[in-house]
Every structure is written in structure tokens, then in C-alpha cells.
């Protein structure tokens, strides 16, 4: 599966594909990728192990196992998705399964940031609209959707849905700056001069103002 996944790179303006519905509030990172799979020095195999325990429990009926959902790339969730640990293994596992965009009622903060930093946009919609969208997708799982980061609108053939996304998030996705390392390093001289002002790095010399 992994070699088929195209990882996000550079500017991200649009995401399109089938939707997959995963219902439930407070789905935590341990459920997304159970801790025993974290024993790895790279993320390569995580795609197969995403939701491993939930899938085992549901014996083939879990959305990530259902045939029709294979190849889906837009995940539709409910509240507080991704709560729990800060490990990036969770969004990495989703990414490697094929998820490129998550739409939900709300997201846990670190998870949200982790998604952004690997190029997975997370957009929000009201409880009511999520529930409508989830129904629509479940009725027509093969429908193609397109999400436009600039307008923050998700479109199917028959419907369009407004979503919310922080301005900063959509800007860095579009500009490609979500891959933050080079942006941060470009400030090296400023970083060095800040380091020279911080009391605990400079024998606690400081000015009282």
C-alpha cells in the first residue's frame, strides 16, 4: 500500500477523493495507533496498523476495513478527534493509510498541529452539518468530493459544504510553509541573538524594567 501513497509536498490547494466516515467523539491517539505499534524507528508500516484494535474488535466491519472505503482520502469525524498523546504516529498512520484531509466537529490541539505539519488539513463543521454529511457519505460512499483550501468549501456533485479553518493554517498550506523547518532556520541570526538575551542562558544577567 505504501508505495501507492503520494505524500503531500509543497503548496496544497485542493484535496479530492472519496470520503470515509468514522463516527464517535474523543477518538484518541491510542485508538488510532495502539501503543504497541510505536516500537519502530520509521513510520513506514503504520498505515496497515491504523485502528488495529478497533478493527480487530469489529471483525471486518470497521470503516477502514470495508471494501468500498478502500482508497478513500477524506476522513469525516466527530468531536475532539485525536485526543491523547502528542505522538505524530497517529496522523502518520492515517496519512499512510491514505488520508489526506480530515473534516470534523473539533480536533485535539496537538493532533491538529501534527496533521498540519505533515500536510493534512483539518477543517471543522458544526455538529449538525457533520451529521448530515456523514449520512450523505454513507448513502453514497463512492461519490467524489473536492475540498478547496482557499474557499474552505467541500463540494460533491450535488452539494457544497462550508467549513472552518484557521486563517494561519490555510495560508501555510497554500504557501507550502507547513513544512516549517526551512522557514524556521532562515531566522538563524535572530535565533542566535535571542539566545544571547535569555537570562538562563547568560548567567542570569537581566534588566529589570
Amino acid at each position: 500500500m505504501n508505495n501507492l501513497i503520494k505524500f503531500p509536498k509543497g503548496s496544497i490547494k485542493k484535496v479530492s477523493g472519496q470520503c470515509i466516515v468514522l463516527r464517535g467523539d474523543d477518538i484518541d491517539t491510542d485508538r488510532i495507533i495502539p501503543a504497541r505499534f510505536l516500537k519502530c524507528v520509521n513510520f513506514d508500516n503504520l498505515g496497515d496498523q491504523v485502528f488495529a484494535d478497533d478493527r480487530k474488535e469489529r471483525k471486518g466491519t470497521h470503516p477502514f476495513d470495508v471494501d468500498i472505503n478502500q482508497g478513500s482520502s477524506i476522513l469525516i469525524v466527530n468531536k475532539n478527534f485525536g485526543c491523547g498523546s502528542s505522538r505524530e504516529h497517529a496522523p502518520q498512520a492515517l496519512l499512510r493509510w491514505g488520508i489526506k484531509l480530515i473534516i470534523g466537529e473539533s480536533f485535539a490541539e496537538i493532533f491538529y498541529g501534527n496533521c498540519l505539519s505533515i500536510g493534512i488539513p483539518c477543517a471543522r463543521m458544526s455538529e449538525l452539518n457533520i451529521s448530515k454529511l456523514q449520512k450523505e457519505v454513507e448513502q453514497g460512499p463512492q461519490e467524489n468530493y473536492e475540498f478547496d483550501i482557499t474557499s474552505k468549501i467541500l463540494r460533491s456533485k450535488s452539494q457544497s459544504w462550508n467549513t472552518l479553518m484557521e486563517k494561519g493554517a490555510s495560508e501555510i498550506l497554500i504557501s507550502g510553509e507547513w513544512d516549517a523547518t526551512s522557514l524556521l532556520i532562515s531566522q538563524k541570526s535572530k535565533i542566535k541573538s535571542i539566545a544571547k538575551q535569555i537570562p538562563y542562558l547568560n548567567y542570569f544577567e537581566f534588566d529589570i524594567d
Binding site: 467523539d25 516500537k39 524507528v41 480487530k56 502528542s86 531566522q187 538563524k188 535565533i191 535569555i198 538562563y200
Partner: protein
């Protein structure tokens, strides 16, 4: 503090923030180091970066190579990365190894006024010292290694003001479980939680760390407590604490940091510590807590938002609404973790276990949070107290907090655990069940074999 560390304003509400202390462990760093090498980058400030190994270490036999080849590979990768990038590693048997959130404070690395990050959500612990401390993901670990800075949005601050004082047999763990129960596991999203008030002022540093450690379970990325005399006394003389002239200068700087009396908060909530009883979770999120004298809540008594997850919890935990929590039989007792694996936690548990015996059929074990904690505990003879009572005494690490090592629940075993998360499958078995409580409560459960009010055993 925020301004002092601000490198640059970025797009949106984001700031490039300078990081004063970066802590690294074996689980979230290998991919970050690999990405660094892929981009041909160096670690910008290796001297502000410290590494330890905690999540995967076995607690029975630590002989190298580890029996688990995956665990061995992870530690070897960390060792190699630390050598290549000149990062100090607190390795096993160095005297400083342990859970990252235990060792940084106890060696004096964590200090007031710092920005502290680690690829681990419980980095909120370090906020107990008046530091801005939060967990980051692996991409950000890479960013901090490369640039000693990261992009982050400023958080709002909710002050949790706690009046009164904790009663006997009620601990910091009960306080924070109570707060999470009342505020919920999502309320903290977008906030830092600042804990203050008479009850907090009375707490020791170790108790304050327990509180800030679990701020993340309320959804708050940071916990924070203003530094005070307790903080300075704790830090004095520690390995990495300022020494000589610097010490006095440090204290005068630290004194300028405390948020002043008329600071405005985005929100405030007030609690009364004296009203809190030993608190324990019955469900599958840390917010599903109840007092020891209460029963598993009935669905209709819960807020509509909490009903669905309650249904899931009744079913997963195999508990009935209305059933009292007291008396619930336990299979495994675990004392340890970055929440409650410090010396005072072991002392509180040992007090209960002293001259008693673990109930028949119960597996009970103690995993000190660090080598320093283990040594200090041994010096007081706590290891013998536990061993005589029938507990196993283990080597330091995260252990059954998340069961990435051989310590794990089997089948649908139920544990009394001093750790911080009771998520489904957290303790190593997909059906395993976890009840979170204070270390003294865990010890009480070990002795009686069921959930017990520790106040009756003091």
C-alpha cells in the same frame, strides 16, 4: 516570558518561539533525527538538548542487548543519534536515567522562566516550575533540533483557583482527577491551565508536577504554576541548578516572572480542595472520574454530551450504572509513571503497604520514575517495605503506563494504576481495563484486592 522567547511573528496567529530546553526520548525522536539527516541539517544547540530512554525499557532484566530486538533497536538508534549530534544522553545505569518528566526536574534542568518542549504530551509537567512547557510532534522535534525554535500559537489562559486544603488521604492526583471530571477532557483545548490559590501554594513540587502533568488530560496543552519559595527550595543544589553567584541572580529573575496579582485571565474556575475525596476513574477517559463513595453514574444523570462515551465505557469496562465503585475487585496494581512515580508517591504508597500483605491473586508492582528516585527510595528502605508486602520492585521506566515494554495487562484484566490514561487498550491488552487513582489508593487496592477508601487505612 513569551516575548522574551519570540523570534518572529509568523503567518496567522503563529509565533516562532525560542526553546530553552529540549528533551528527547527514544520513541518520538528517531524519525526526527532521520529527517534532519535527510535535509543535511545539524542540531543547532546540542547543549540545550538532553535525551533519556524510558518508554521501551524493560523493568526486570535491563541487560543489553534487550530481549526485545525492537526495543534494542530503538535504544541503539537513540545512542547513535546522540553521539553523532553531541547530545547528552542519560542512559541506563548513568544514575540519571528515568522517565523524561521525572529526570529533567530532579536534575534541576527544568527551571522557572524557561520554554521546555519534548515529543511527549506530558511535557505539561514542567509547567509546575513556572516554565512554558508543552508536548510536540515528531515534525516539531525535527524543527527544534534544527532551529531551537518552533511555530506555535499563543494560548489563552484559564486560571484554576483552588481554595482550602486537601484532607488527609486525599492527594494531588485526586485534585487533578476531580478538576478533569468537573471541566471535562476537552475544555482545555486552546488554553494553558494555570493552577493557583491557597491549596496549590501548600503543595510540594512533586505534587505540583502531578497536577500539571495531567493538565493535558483536560485538553490543556500546558499546565502552569507560578514559581515561589517552594520552587526555589526544591531547585537549590540540584545538578543543573544555577550555582554560587548565579543562584542569587537566578532567584531575583525568577521572582519577576510570577503573574502579578491583578493579571487578567481569559477565564477562571474556582474549586475547594477540602470538598474533594479520593477520586478514581471508572471509564475510558480521564474525565470519567468519581469520588470513592459514589457509584458509576447513570446515563440519565450525565450531560447529553457525555452520554455516548458513557455507554461505550459501561460496555468496555463491564460495569453497570449505579454500581458502587468501592469494593470492585482488581487484578493488577501498578505504581509508577511520570504522574506518580516520584519519591513522595512511593512514600505514600509504602505507608499503606507497610507490614501488610498484597491480597491473594493480585499482581502488584512498583516502578520508580527514575534511577534517582529508586536510589532515594532504597536509602529509606522502601524497596524492602514493598517487597515484604509482596509487591515486585522494578527498574525505572514508563512501564505499564503505556505498556511498550513487557509489563502489560492480559485479556480483560482490570488494573488499579497511578498513571494518567485509561484509554481503551492503553495498558497493553486490547480489552485491558484501567482505573486511575493516587498511589496510596493503588496500594490500598493491592492490600485488600479491591477498590478501597485509603482514608480508612491511615
Amino acid at each position: 516570558m513569551w516575548e522574551l522567547h519570540s523570534v518572529k511573528k509568523l503567518q496567522g496567529d503563529s509565533t516562532q518561539l525560542f526553546i530553552g530546553l529540549h528533551l528527547v526520548h527514544e520513541v518520538t525522536s528517531p524519525q526526527a533525527f532521520a529527517a534532519l539527516e535527510e535535509k543535511n541539517l545539524n542540531v543547532l544547540y546540542p547543549e540545550l538538548t538532553y535525551a533519556t530512554v524510558d518508554h521501551i525499557v524493560p523493568t526486570i532484566n535491563q541487560k543489553r542487548p534487550f530481549l526485545d530486538p525492537l526495543a534494542e533497536e530503538m535504544l541503539m538508534t537513540l545512542e547513535k543519534n546522540c553521539i553523532r549530534h553531541k547530545i547528552k544522553l542519560f542512559n541506563i545505569n548513568s544514575g540519571n536515567q528515568g522517565i523524561v518528566h521525572v529526570i529533567a526536574p530532579e536534575t534541576g534542568l527544568t527551571q522557572p522562566g524557561m520554554t521546555v518542549v519534548c515529543g511527549d504530551s506530558h511535557t505539561s509537567t514542567h509547567g509546575a516550575f513556572g516554565a512554558i512547557a508543552f508536548g510536540i510532534g515528531t515534525s516539531q522535534v525535527r524543527d527544534v533540533l534544527a532551529s531551537q525554535s518552533l511555530a506555535i500559537n499563543k494560548l489563552k489562559v484559564r486560571r484554576i483557583w483552588v481554595e482550602g486544603a486537601l484532607a488527609q488521604g486525599v492527594f494531588a492526583k485526586d485534585l487533578i482527577l476531580h478538576v478533569i471530571r468537573e471541566l471535562g477532557v476537552k475544555s482545555g483545548v486552546g488554553y494553558a491551565y494555570e493552577f493557583a490559590g491557597p491549596a496549590i501554594a501548600k503543595l510540594s513540587m512533586e505534587e505540583r508536577m502531578t497536577i500539571c502533568n495531567m493538565a493535558i488530560e483536560a485538553g490543556a496543552r500546558c499546565g502552569y504554576i507560578n514559581p515561589d519559595e517552594t520552587t526555589y527550595t526544591y531547585l537549590k543544589g540540584r545538578e543543573y541548578s544555577p550555582k554560587g553567584d548565579d543562584w542569587e541572580k537566578a532567584i531575583s529573575w525568577w521572582r519577576t516572572l510570577a503573574s502579578n496579582k491583578d493579571a487578567v485571565f481569559d477565564d477562571e474556575v474556582i474549586f475547594d480542595a477540602s470538598q474533594i475525596s479520593p477520586t478514581i476513574t471508572w471509564g475510558i477517559t480521564p474525565g470519567q472520574g468519581i469520588g470513592i463513595d459514589e457509584s458509576i453514574p447513570k446515563k440519565e444523570c450525565l450531560h447529553p454530551n457525555d452520554q455516548q462515551i458513557a455507554d461505550e465505557a459501561y460496555c468496555y469496562m463491564n460495569l453497570k450504572p449505579g454500581q458502587p465503585i468501592k469494593g470492585l475487585p482488581i487484578d493488577v496494581c501498578f505504581i509508577g509513571s511520570c504522574t506518580n512515580g516520584r519519591l513522595s508517591d512511593l512514600q505514600a504508597a509504602a505507608k499503606i503497604a507497610k507490614n501488610k500483605k498484597v491480597a491473594k491473586g493480585i499482581k502488584a508492582f512498583v516502578v520508580p520514575g527514575s534511577e534517582r528516585v529508586a536510589n532515594a527510595a532504597k536509602k529509606e528502605g522502601l524497596d524492602d517495605v514493598f517487597k515484604n508486602a509482596g509487591f515486585e520492585w522494578r527498574e525505572p521506566g514508563c512501564s505499564m503506563c503505556l505498556a511498550m515494554n513487557p509489563d502489560r495487562l492480559e485479556g480483560n484484566q482490570i488494573s488499579a494504576s497511578s498513571s494518567n490514561r485509561n484509554f481503551k487498550g492503553r495498558q497493553g491488552s486490547a480489552q485491558g481495563r484501567t482505573l486511575l487513582m493516587s498511589p496510596a489508593m493503588v496500594a490500598a487496592a493491592a492490600i485488600t484486592g479491591h477498590v478501597t477508601d485509603v482514608r480508612k487505612m491511615i
